[in-house]
C-alpha cells in the first residue's frame, strides 16, 4: 500500500509511444495506464496510474499539481482509453425488434449507433446512459437540454 501514496512528478511518452510516469524518488514506470476512479461524478479528480497488469502504482488525487504537459498527456490518454461520447441530439431512430439504430450528434461528431433498447439506463432523473451492441457507452448528461425532437425519440425508450 505504501507505493500508492507516492507522488508522481512527471508523465511523458517514450520513443516507442509508451506512457511513462516518474515518481518523486526518480523511479520510472513504463507502459502505464491511467484510470478514472469516479468517471462520472468526478472525472478529473482521483486518477489511478496502473501498470499493464492493472495493478495500481500511484494514485493522483489532484491532477492540477502536475506540470502542464504531463497533465495534458494524462487527460488525453484518459480520453482515449475511456471512450464515452456525449450525445447532443438524436436525429432519427430506426427500431427493429429489441434493438434500435439511432442517428446521433455527439461531441465527437455525427454517427449512428445500434443499441439494445433494454440497455438504456436512466442514471439519475436527467442523466441517461446508453450502451450499444459493442458495449461502447454513450452519455446524455441532461436529456431536458436536448431538442424536443430528440426528446420525443428518446422518450419512446424510457
Amino acid at each position: 500500500m505504501s507505493s500508492n501514496s507516492t507522488q508522481i512528478t512527471a508523465c511523458f511518452r517514450d520513443g516507442q509511444g509508451m506512457l511513462v510516469v516518474r515518481d518523486a524518488a526518480g523511479a520510472e514506470y513504463r507502459d502505464v495506464r491511467p484510470l478514472r476512479m469516479f468517471p462520472i461524478t468526478d472525472p478529473d479528480g482521483f486518477i489511478s496510474i496502473c501498470d499493464a497488469q492493472g495493478r495500481e502504482l500511484v494514485c493522483i488525487e489532484n491532477i492540477d499539481a502536475l506540470p502542464l504537459d504531463s497533465r495534458e498527456l494524462i487527460l488525453h490518454e484518459l480520453k482515449r482509453c475511456t471512450f464515452t461520447p456525449v450525445i447532443l441530439q438524436i436525429t432519427k431512430a430506426l427500431p427493429f425488434g429489441e434493438y434500435a439504430r439511432l442517428f446521433v450528434e455527439t461531441d465527437r461528431g455525427a454517427t449512428d449507433i445500434t443499441v439494445d433498447t433494454e440497455e438504456i439506463y436512466r442514471l439519475s432523473d436527467n442523466r441517461i446512459l446508453l450502451k450499444d451492441v459493442n458495449k461502447i457507452r454513450y452519455l446524455i448528461p441532461d436529456w431536458r437540454k436536448m431538442s424536443s425532437h430528440s426528446r420525443r425519440i428518446l422518450d419512446a425508450y424510457l
Binding site: 516507442q16 509511444g17 480520453k79 464515452t84 454517427t111 445500434t114 451492441v133 461502447i136 419512446a156
Partner: protein, 757 residues
Amino acid sequence: MSVSLFENMHSLYGDGETPQAYFTHDLDENLRYGQSELILTNQRLLHMALKPAGPAVKKNGDGPPPDIASRQDWPLTGDLTVTACAYSGTGAIELRDAERLLARWQYTIARHNDACAFVKTFTALSAGADPADSGNGPKEPAEPAAEGGFEITPATTMQSLRRLISFSRPWYHLFFLSFLLSLACTAAGLIPPYITMPLIDKILIPFQNGTPIDSSLVIWYLSGLAGAAVFAWLLGWARTFTLAWVSERVAGGLRDTLYSHMHRLSLDYFSEKRTGDLIARVSTDTDRICYFLSVYVLDFAADVLMILMTAAILFYINPVLAAVTLCPIPFVAWLTNYYRNILRGGFAKSTRAWSDMTSVLADAIPGVRVVKAFAQENRETDRFKEANRLVVRANGRVNKVWAFFGPMVTLFTDFGILIIWGFAVWLIFKKQITVGVLTAFVAYISRFYSRMESMIRMVSAVQRAAASTKRIFDVIDVEPKIVEAADPVMPGKLRGKIEFRDVAFSYGKREVVHGVSLAIEPGEMIGFVGPSGSGKTTLVNLVCRFYDVSHGLVLVDDTDIRDFSIEGFRKNIGIVLQEPFLFYGTIAENIAYGKPGATRSEIIEAARAACAHDFIIRLPDGYDTLVGERGQLLSGGERQRISIARAILINPSILILDEATSSVDVETEKEIQQALENLIHGRTTLAVAHRLSTLKQSDRIVVLENGSITGVGGHTELLSINETYARFHRTNAEMYLSTVRQLKEAEAAKEREVDYE
C-alpha cells in the same frame, strides 16, 4: 470485410503496385468520428485522412473521388511492425519502426476484427510471404478473430415468425383443421343477416301492406336463424378448442426444447446472462407465443375471412351500395391504427415504469436487514414513492388516450353506418333496393366495424410475438461450446490419473492460464494456492470439462478428456463448492442428487462419512426434512456437510474441492474437517484453498501466479524455495495466531467474570 473507397482508384498506385488490404478507421486522433483509409499495397503502407463529409460517405468506388485531407505513406521495409490493441470502446493500430512509434490510428471497437485481419495481412506480407498464397488476399481479410466486433443481424418480424411456423410443423394438420372450422364458423355467422332480408321484404312489409302472413315460411326462416346460431356456436367451440389445444402444445414444445438446450450450454453462457432474464424466456415468452397462436391468430383468421365473405355477399346483393359502404373502411382503419400506436407507446412506458417499481421492491425487501441496520427506511420509502409516482404518471397518460380511444372507435362505427343509412335511404326512394337489403347491410357492417379494432390489435400482437420468438431462438441458436466427441469413449470407473500437458485457456481475450504442465497420480491430493485470479479455479474447471482448453491437453487415465462421453466422465467427478447449493427437496434427495437410485442405507452411510448423520437425525423430520428454498434453515457447516455427503455417495475417482472451507468460520471448518478427510481418502483430489489448514493432507502443493505454475512440492520444500508460498504461509500463520490470541483473551475474560461472581 472492409470495403474501400479506393478499391478502383488505380491512379493512386505506381507501376507494379497492387493493393493487398484495406482498413477504414472511423476515429481521428482526437477521437472524433471521421473516416480515414489505411491501404496496404505490396510496396508501401498508405494512409489517407478524408475530409469530414458527414456520416453518409458514398461507399463505392464509382462515385466522385473522396476529398482527401492528408496523405502519408511508408515504404515497406523489414523493420516496420504493426499491432492492433483494444481498449474499452476503442482500439488502435500502431505503426512502429525499430525504435519509434510512427503513427497510431484509432477506431471504434466494432472494427477490431477488421483491424486484426489487417495486421495479420501486414505481418504476413512483411515477413515475405505472398499474402495471396497464405489465403489472406486483399478482398478476403483473414478469418475474423474469435471475438471483438459484434455483428447484429436484425431478424425481421417475418423471419422470426417463419421459424415459429416451422416449429409448428408437426401440428400442421390440426392448424388446417382449425382453419377449416374457422371458415365454416364465420360462414355460419353470416347466414342470419341474409335470412332477415327475405323475412322483411317478403313477409313483414307485405304484411304491413295487408297481405296475410304465410306462417310456414315464417317458421322456416326463424328456424333457419336458430339453426345458423347453433351451428356457429358448435363450430366456434370446436375451433377454439382445437386451436387452444395445438398452440398449447407448440408452446410446450418450445419450452421443453429451450430448457433442455439451456442445460446443454456451457457455464460461461450462464455467467453472462441474468437469471431472471433466462427464466423469463422460458416462462413469459413461450406463454406469450401460446396466447398469440391461440387467440390472435384465430381472431385474425376469422376476421379476415369474415371481411372477405361479407364484402362478397354485399357485392352480390348490391354492388353500388357495397362500394359506398366499404369506402370509408381504409380511412377508419388508418385512424384506428394511428391511435393504437400512441396507445402502444404509452403501454410500453407504463410497463417499464411498473418494472422499475418492482425492482425497487426486489432490491429493498431482501436487503431489509441492511436497510434497518443503517436506519435508511425513509430513504427506501422515498425511492419507492418516486418509482410509484412515475407509474401513476405513465398510467395517467395511457388512461387519457384510452378513455378517448374507446368512444372514438364507436364514433367511427356510427359514422360508417350513417353513411349506409343515408345512401340506402336514397336508393330506396329511387326504388333500387328494398328495406330488407338495408337491414342486411346494417347488420353486416356493424359486425365489420366491431372486428376492426381487434384486427388492428393484431399488428402489435404480431410484433410482440415476433420479439418473443426471437428471444427464444436467440437461446436455441447458441451452440454449446462443450461438444460430445463423435465417437465417445465410455470411461467406466476411472483410476484418477490426471495430466495437464502444456495447457492454456483464454476467457474471451484474456489468457487466464498458460503453459501449465502437471502430472497427478491416482489417489494423490494436490492443493492449489495462489492469489485470486491466478487461475486455480480455471484449472479445476478444465478438469471437470466445464470449459475446453484453448491449447494443450488434459488427460485422465491417459485419454484426452474430450474423447470421453461427457456424462460418463462427469459421473467420475465429485465436487464440493464454496457455497453448498441445496435444491428444494428432502435432505435424502439432496444427498442422492448425483445418484438418484441410491438406497436409504447408502444415503445414511454417506451422511455418516460426511459427519452429517448426527445433526440430520436430530431434525424433527430426520432425512425427510425439507431444505432449499423455504425449507428448514441449516447452518453453513451443516449445508456443507450435506454437500460433502452428496459427493461421497457417487464415489468419485476425482474429487474437486473448490474453496470448500472458505466461507465458513474456523469453528465450522473444524466440524467439516473430519468429513473432508473421509471424502478425500483414496481419491485423486484437487483442492483450491485459501486456508492452509485445508491443505495440510496434500501430497503436493502447486503455487499458481498469473496463470502459470511457479512452484510444485511438499509444504516444507516450498516454504524454503517459493517466495509466494512462504508469504501465503506467513499470512495464514498470522491469522491463526491472532485467532488463538483472541480465543485465549476471551477465555481469560470469561474466567475474570467467574471470579467477580
